[in-house]
């Protein structure tokens, strides 16, 4: 019965296409593909904003005594005075760089863009389970973005208590001079939570109940697996952040004292709630990237994913472990040391599934026929950079070492290797890879390769030295390190990092140029430019409203490349009928 409804909806959707107004088609659209593109534009914009904040920050770190901020005059006196970035503005930069990147750029780009775009297409359904909720999940992000941008221009400036919003600093305006800015950011966070929960409900329901016939759990592309697991994490973690955020807003505004010790509240409670959300959030930010990488590596290597089941198991166990390791962010926080012991062990064990995944990616490349196009380069870059990020994580998982490196630049290096070298590399890869499906044109390969190499080199120049700076002992979120005796001698490193960061930011514009230039001038893409097997490539580029004339039937696993029984080509689409190709090919 449900099927009939689905089919009927599909027909209705196909019909609707011709009758929609511009507003319904492009602005308040319920088509998952349009919503994904809206998310893409939105997140690319905030990626740029986040990068810009980082550039200002890097200028200050490299030349704390120089002042003379280029274009410093355009900032109000409360941000930049006499060419000097003021410490309160620096704190706002630190805070909002982290917040914007995590909540408004990377997370919605991973989930909002790709879960929306890929889940119905790769599962073979007409649209999401709840298209109108889907639309709402985008439009809930809009006020979040507006509130965030507005918070810079209110009295007292934007939030300055770090993206982790540790109370009481975030709860008492008299201690920071930031009042409204903090509240606006928390309100934005509540909207983001709403968007994320609505999205997750959709992704989970669609994945569970609307897979095309034959699309069994073990035939789902790893992208879908990772997005599905991610949605579960978001579903269970985001509401806790919303609850905590609302309590923090109450502390700020109506005189409660949940996190204020002078009223009996507990600052550590905030940290527990935040990191109970925060650690799953870390996996929300990396799991989809792992999925894209698996997908692109498999297509680019012309090989099935090595150890598909192990990959799925690793995903599931990472997600599960993700809920029992949050305390490792709090080893030095005054938390009961006994809890520290438990969290050390659970944290270290996350290294195991991560190692499994890395080795399986290498296994996928092994004896492959590597097509080193831009998307593939970024996917390989992801594996290489994620390995570094994962390995540096072992240092901080070991509690005694964490005593020293906690809250130093070592942590900053680690998080950026995972979030930039990891998530963002995979995201660039995903954009190069699925761009032809989204817009019907290929992105320019030459520019793509230049973009990759610039990004790769500058990225490592920026973040690898940070390990060293962290070893020396440079604390995070330090406005001026030159006053400390133990930090003498790292000024040159900091200057190099900053120059490289400028380069990294600039190379982002090459990508942006390629992105928009290719919309008009890119080579026309056929339906399946990469000779890929998953369902989204078996429909026109870009797919019509409703995706399919008729729901496809799935006969094979997701990554059947170079199958020995298929001779005329090296791939076997998931919906190719086995009797048409070869009887043996359908066995897996």
């Amino acid at each position: 019965m449900a099927t009939i409804v689905a089919e009927a909806t599909g027909q209705a959707i196909l019909h609707e296409e011709h009758e929609q107004s511009f507003l319904r088609k492009y602005i308040f659209s319920t088509d998952h593909k349009v919503i994904a593109i809206q998310f893409l534009i939105y997140t690319l914009f905030f990626l740029m904003i986040g990068g810009l904040l980082a550039m200002l920050m890097r200028y200050q770190i490299a030349w704390p005594a120089r002042g003379e901020l280029p274009l410093g005059g355009i900032f109000p006196e409360s941000m930049v005075a006499s060419g000097y970035i003021l410490p309160e503005f620096y704190n706002a930069l630190v805070t909002m760089h982290g917040s914007v990147m995590v909540f408004l750029a990377i997370m919605p780009m991973l989930v909002g863009v790709w879960a929306n775009y890929l889940i119905p297409l790769q599962l073979g359904t007409h649209d999401m389970a709840f298209p109108r909720l889907n639309m709402l999940s985008f439009w809930a992000m809009v006020p979040a973005g507006i509130l965030t941008l507005a918070s810079f221009f209110v009295v007292g400036g934007a939030a300055g208590a770090g993206w982790t919003l540790y109370a009481p600093l975030s709860a008492r305006p008299d201690l920071t001079g930031v009042g409204l800015g903090q509240i606006l950011w928390l309100a934005a966070l509540v909207f983001i939570g709403l968007s994320s929960i609505l999205g997750s409900v959709n992704y989970i329901t669609t994945t569970i109940n609307m897979r095309a016939p034959g699309m069994t759990w073990m035939r789902m592309p790893l992208t879908i697996w990772s997005l599905f697991i991610t949605a579960i994490l978001a579903l269970l973690a985001m509401p806790v952040l919303s609850a905590a955020g609302i309590m923090l807003i109450f502390d700020q505004t109506i005189g409660t004292s949940f996190f204020l010790p002078e009223g009996g509240g507990q600052p550590l409670l905030w940290q527990h709630l935040f990191w109970f959300f925060g650690h799953p959030e870390v996996y929300i930010l990396i799991l989809p990237a792992m999925g894209f990488t698996s997908e692109i590596l498999s297509v680019g290597s012309r090989k099935p994913v090595f150890g598909y089941k192990a990959m799925v198991l690793a995903l599931v166990s990472i997600a599960f472990l993700g809920f029992i390791v949050w305390g490792h962010h709090m080893f030095q926080s005054g938390m009961n040391p006994m809890l520290g012991l438990t969290f050390t062990v659970s944290t270290l064990f996350i290294a195991v599934p991560s190692a499994i995944k890395t080795f399986n990616w290498m296994g996928t490349m092994w004896r492959g026929n590597l097509q080193l196009h831009s998307a593939m380069l970024f996917a390989i870059g992801f594996v290489a950079m994620f390995a570094i990020g994962g390995l540096s994580g072992v240092f901080m998982a070991s509690t005694p070492v964490d005593i020293y490196i906690h809250d130093t630049y070592f942590i900053v290096a680690h998080i950026h290797y995972v979030l930039f070298g990891g998530s963002l590399f995979a995201l660039f890869g995903a954009i190069y890879f699925w761009y032809p499906k989204m817009f019907g044109r290929m992105m320019n390969e030459t520019m793509g390769k230049i973009h990759f190499w610039l990004t790769f080199v500058f990225f490592n120049l920026v973040f690898f030295p940070m390990h060293g700076v962290g070893m020396v002992g440079m604390m995070r979120r330090i406005y001026d390190s030159t006053g400390y005796a133990h930090l003498q001698g790292i000024e040159d490193t900091n200057a190099i990092i900053t120059w490289a960061a400028f380069g990294l930011f600039a190379s982002g514009f090459l990508f942006a140029f390629n992105f928009f230039w290719s919309l008009k001038k890119g080579r026309k893409a056929e339906a399946n430019p990469w000779n890929a097997t998953t369902l989204e490539w078996q429909t026109p580029s870009p797919p019509k409203h409703g995706n399919w004339e008729e729901i496809p039937v799935v006969y094979h696993g997701p990554h059947e490349y170079s199958h020995p029984d298929v001779e005329d080509k090296d791939w076997l689409a998931q919906n190719e009928r086995p009797d048409v190709v070869s009887p043996a090919a359908g066995s897996h």
Binding site: S82, T176, T253, T256
Partner: protein
């Protein structure tokens, strides 16, 4: 203790309202315009209708000894003081006169010229100069830093909107304003626990702060009967009635002695100086 909930809500609304009305008024660009408008009003004083109030804050008896301030961690500041080193400034007596008494007309003023010019608050050798400052509501306060190190300026009024800004290097300035009369607004630097200043905000220009010798003078006061209030950070407030006659000088004197130490001092948030540590602890009141 937590019942300031409604106050804070009101403050929040006020902040929100200010923000809604174009907020962000920390910028100095508007300051010049305000000063320009204010000047004609100040110039319009007719000498034939105004008089002067002047007098002394006298201190009798044993002068309490001021504690030494440990500035050793800020060599640059400590170098600015003589052999005795820096001392606390809460009671400064010179030849029987008590400095830093804020004297202002608290009753009887009807109508006043708008604020003109800017008051200045400088930070020199890890101290506020002046220690006690009077301003008119709405008047620009130009805060500047003469030390080449970090100071933050944390004003914690109860009626006005507070601010907490920093000036990491010498030469950085910031212009702030208080819109509502409030005696006194405490100002502190969180980096240097001993740094404390007080800003008296009144609705008119008839106020003064006693100088090192304890004398003060308020000029251009329209003829009439007034109540004069004197505020001191350790000795609380005293009042006196004065009658100002055009073209003449009225005299009002305030007497202080060591026994008055610890009197109730009207203030926004009560500041408790922990003796021996040079630390100021803010007690959130109401």
């Amino acid at each position: 203790m937590r019942s300031h909930f409604w106050n804070r809500s009101a403050a929040l609304l006020a902040v929100a309202a200010m923000a809604a009305c174009g907020g962000g008024d920390g910028g100095s660009s508007e300051a010049a315009d305000d000063a320009g408008e204010a000047t004609p009003a100040a110039a319009a004083v007719d000498p034939s209708t105004v008089g002067t109030i002047s007098g002394m804050a006298n201190f009798g008896g044993m002068v309490p000894t001021m504690e030494a301030i440990d500035m050793s961690a800020e060599a640059e500041c400590a170098a600015g003081y003589g052999a005795d080193g820096p001392m606390a400034q809460s009671v400064l007596v010179s030849e029987g006169g008590l400095a830093n008494v804020f004297v202002y007309l608290s009753e009887g003023v009807s109508g006043a010229p708008a604020a003109s010019g800017a008051a200045t608050l400088d930070q020199v050798n890890c101290r506020y100069t002046p220690h006690v400052l009077g301003v008119q509501s709405g008047q620009d306060i130009e805060i500047s830093n003469s030390d080449n190190l970090l100071h933050n300026i944390n004003a914690t009024p109860t009626e006005n909107r507070g601010f907490n800004i920093s000036q990491p290097r010498a030469g950085i300035t910031s212009t702030q304003r208080f819109q509502v009369a409030e005696v006194m607004v405490p100002v502190r630097c969180d980096v240097h626990g001993w740094m404390q200043a007080y800003i008296g905000v009144v609705d008119h220009p008839y106020f003064a702060v006693t100088g090192a010798d304890g004398s003060y003078s308020i000029a251009n006061v329209p003829a009439g009967d007034y109540t004069l209030t004197a505020w001191h950070e350790e000795f609380g407030t005293q009042t006196a009635n004065v009658t100002v006659t055009a073209g003449e000088m009225a005299v009002a004197t305030f007497d202080y002695n060591a026994e008055m130490m610890g009197a109730e001092v009207p203030m926004g948030d009560a500041l408790v100086l922990e003796h021996g540590t040079n630390r100021i602890r803010v007690e959130r009141t109401q």
